[in-house]
């Protein structure tokens, strides 16, 4: 109707077209400005990382001479010498040590946290509220508070300088955050499927393994990813409990080259830092889809 009326007056038609074109231009300019801002801020935040990667290909002297991130004389020296380290062990050993800490820890976390979360979310038992409250309380407790008692406990058990203090707490659902996350996720999943499984003759454990775990998968993947990244990056844990160099994970090994000599080779440290970052980054990007699913969605549509 409007179109019809307007078409009678050519001057109005032209005006409208002009306004439209202007608005379109303004809209486009707005979008460009927005993306420019985002890109600038993004670059600002990423710059240290970019500089790190660039600097890992520089010589030690260039790092201090040249503030830009692009190396003038790119060299792999930092990687080659850094990998060999000043100890009898290469970085390969440290990477293996890290994996040897991370993998059992992730598996233990996944199994124990699922079982504990299932218990809290689905069963009634005496003192459930009290127990759940204390679980949440440990979430709020700063980690540092429990360090010394934990250290004393593990010392008395004779577990110092082994991976046990790093594995065992996780294998007993020691990470309250993960339990809490899974409980919340489970609460959003209707119980019908589990009840159907019980009617079909499944035991509690069978119900958990065949029904609950598949339903919980998005959250479980997030839990594993979090645990993987946090453990990869954990410095304090290994620092406290592990004393022999042959058991050092990457996070400790990086520091090795810093405190042995006064004039240390920065390019080696940076090169190894880049390598240390890669697994976590790779895993994150590969599993990004599940990761976001797991932390954002409240569960599965009934």
């Amino acid at each position: 109707m409007t179109e019809h009326v307007l078409s009678h007056d050519p001057s109005t038609v032209g005006e409208v077209a002009g306004i439209r074109a202007r608005e379109h231009r303004r809209h486009k300019a707005g979008i460009m400005l927005r993306y420019l801002m985002l890109a600038a801020v993004g670059l600002l935040m990423l710059y240290p990382l970019i500089w790190l990667i660039g600097a890992s290909f520089k010589t030690n002297s260039e790092i201090f001479a040249n503030p830009g991130f692009w190396p003038e004389n790119p060299t792999l020296d930092g990687y080659i010498k850094g990998w060999q380290t000043s100890t009898p062990y290469s970085f390969g050993t440290f990477f293996l040590n890290t994996l040897w800490i991370v993998i059992p820890k992730v598996i233990g976390t996944a199994i124990s946290c699922t079982a504990v979360a299932y218990g809290f979310a689905r069963f009634e038992f005496p003192f459930k509220k009290l127990l759940f409250a204390s679980l949440i309380a440990t979430l709020l407790l700063p980690n540092v508070v429990t360090r010394i008692p934990q250290y004393l406990l593990f010392r008395d058990l004779g577990w110092l300088d082994s991976f046990l203090p790093l594995w065992v707490p996780s294998a007993f659902a020691g990470d309250a955050f993960f339990v809490f996350m899974l409980v919340q996720f489970l609460r959003a999943i209707p119980r019908d499927m589990e009840e159907a499984a019980r009617v079909d003759g499944a035991t509690t454990w069978q119900t958990m393994i065949f029904i609950v775990v598949p339903l919980l998968m998005p959250a479980l993947i997030s839990v594993c990813l979090f645990q993987f990244m946090w453990t990869m990056n954990d410095f304090l844990g290994p620092l406290i409990y592990i004393s022999s160099v042959d058991k050092y994970p990457v996070s400790l090994a990086l520091k090795l080259s810093i405190d042995t000599t006064e004039a240390f080779e920065w390019n080696r440290v940076l090169a190894m830092s880049v390598l240390a970052l890669t697994p976590a980054l790779a895993v994150f990007f590969l599993a990004q889809k599940y990761f976001i699913d797991g932390i954002s969605s409240g569960g599965i549509k009934g």
């Binding site: 009840e195 009617v199 079909d200 598949p214």
Partner: protein, 370 residues
């Protein structure tokens, strides 16, 4: 034999009693419908039979065996849930065979049973699909199939059709009753307990119906008896659509009821139906279908003012105000002529055979004795 017996079954939630010691026998092969308004504990009762809800007191026997403390899987029951409760990560085939795989049955046996059940329910083209790729009706059929494959002693249905649209519901209703008959003909035990809040489902599907209210059983009877001889005002009001009309009044001399300043004569025949010694305050109940338009005032008629008319095609719903009370009368279109009404006043004549008298205090039907 798969007789289901409930004896003094009780359920407490904290200090709240949800089920008040109910007794119910469901015979072998019988289709029993539990019906009632929401919150009447019909689903709770079903879940107690299934073993999904712990019982506070009483006994549940299936095939004569006490199953109070048995887990759901060992009770010889299977259940169809309201929202299907299919396992979302398993294909239809795996959904169907889950119970058999748990029992580690041989692969050929599982294969054969799956084929049989999917053929029976016409879901064979869906076997390789995931539940999210099914429509509501298909998902419900798979859920029924999952119950069927177990060859249980007792089938439990928890409002299985309430998520479907009206048309599909009607066809699933027929399908389920057909299936029940077919299983019975095949000699498979097919005792069914079916929970619904929909009285049409209850009336059309049940061999017998158990009407519940607030954790009590109000009446257990076949559909015909329930409709024609309701035991109390609750059942009378719950079964039948539109609802039965109720008029509070006083019984005078076994044959007359004084209600809303009018006296209705019910005749000598009616007097014989009354339980002995009942008189005084009563509630008169009459279904809309049992009211007729009378030509003129006689001893048995009620005078009222037509307030609202609904023309349904083959019949007409009249909303008639009698004193402060509004009654609904359903008359055939042929018998209704709008122009014959003078000032909207009308005489309604109740069919004495369709009239019920209820004790106003207890709500009990006192006009059942013959």
């Amino acid at each position: 034999m798969a007789r289901l017996q409930l004896r003094n079954l009780e359920k407490d939630y904290g200090s709240l009693r949800a089920v008040h010691g109910i007794n119910l026998d469901v015979e072998d092969g019988e289709f029993m419908v539990l019906v009632g308004p929401s919150g009447c504990a019909k689903s709770t009762t079903l879940r107690m039979i299934a073993g999904l809800e712990r019982i506070t007191g009483g006994e549940i026997r299936i095939g004569g065996e006490l199953v109070n403390d048995k887990p759901p899987g060992d009770r010889g029951i299977s259940m169809v849930f309201q929202n299907y409760a299919l396992y979302p990560h398993m294909k239809v085939r795996k959904n169907l065979s889950f119970s058999m795989r748990l029992k580690r049955r041989p692969a050929e046996e599982i294969e054969k049973a799956t084929e049989h059940v999917s053929g029976l329910l016409e879901i064979d083209p869906l076997l390789e699909r995931l539940p999210k790729q099914l429509s509501g009706g298909q998902a419900q059929r798979v859920a029924v199939g999952r119950a069927l494959i177990k060859k249980p002693q007792v089938f439990l249905f928890d409002e299985p059709l309430s998520n479907l649209d009206a048309k599909l519901r009607a066809s699933m209703r027929v399908r389920i009753t057909d299936l029940h008959k077919r299983l019975k003909a095949e000699g498979q035990q097919a005792t069914v307990v079916y929970v619904t809040h929909d009285q049409t489902e209850a009336m059309t599907m049940g061999d017998r119906i158990c009407v519940m209210k607030d954790g009590h059983i109000m009446q257990v009877a076949d559909p015909m008896t329930l409709y024609n001889r309701p035991a109390n005002t609750f059942v009378a009001g719950f079964i039948g659509s539109p609802e039965m009309n109720f008029l509070d009044g006083e019984l005078e001399g076994q044959t007359h009821v004084k209600a809303a300043d009018q006296t209705v004569a019910l005749g000598d025949e009616f007097a014989h139906r009354l339980s002995v010694g009942k008189s005084g305050w009563v509630t008169l109940g009459i279904r809309p279908q049992h009211l007729r338009i009378a030509e003129a005032k006689t001893a048995g008629t009620l005078k009222g003012k037509v307030n609202h008319i609904e023309f349904m095609g083959h019949e007409v719903y009249l909303y008639v105000d009698i004193g402060p009370k509004r009654l609904i009368a359903i008359v055939p279109s042929a018998a209704y002529d709008r122009t014959a009404l003078r000032d909207d006043w009308i005489w309604l004549s109740p069919d004495p055979k369709g009239v019920h008298l209820f004790d106003r205090q207890t709500g009990e039907n006192i006009s059942l004795a013959i």
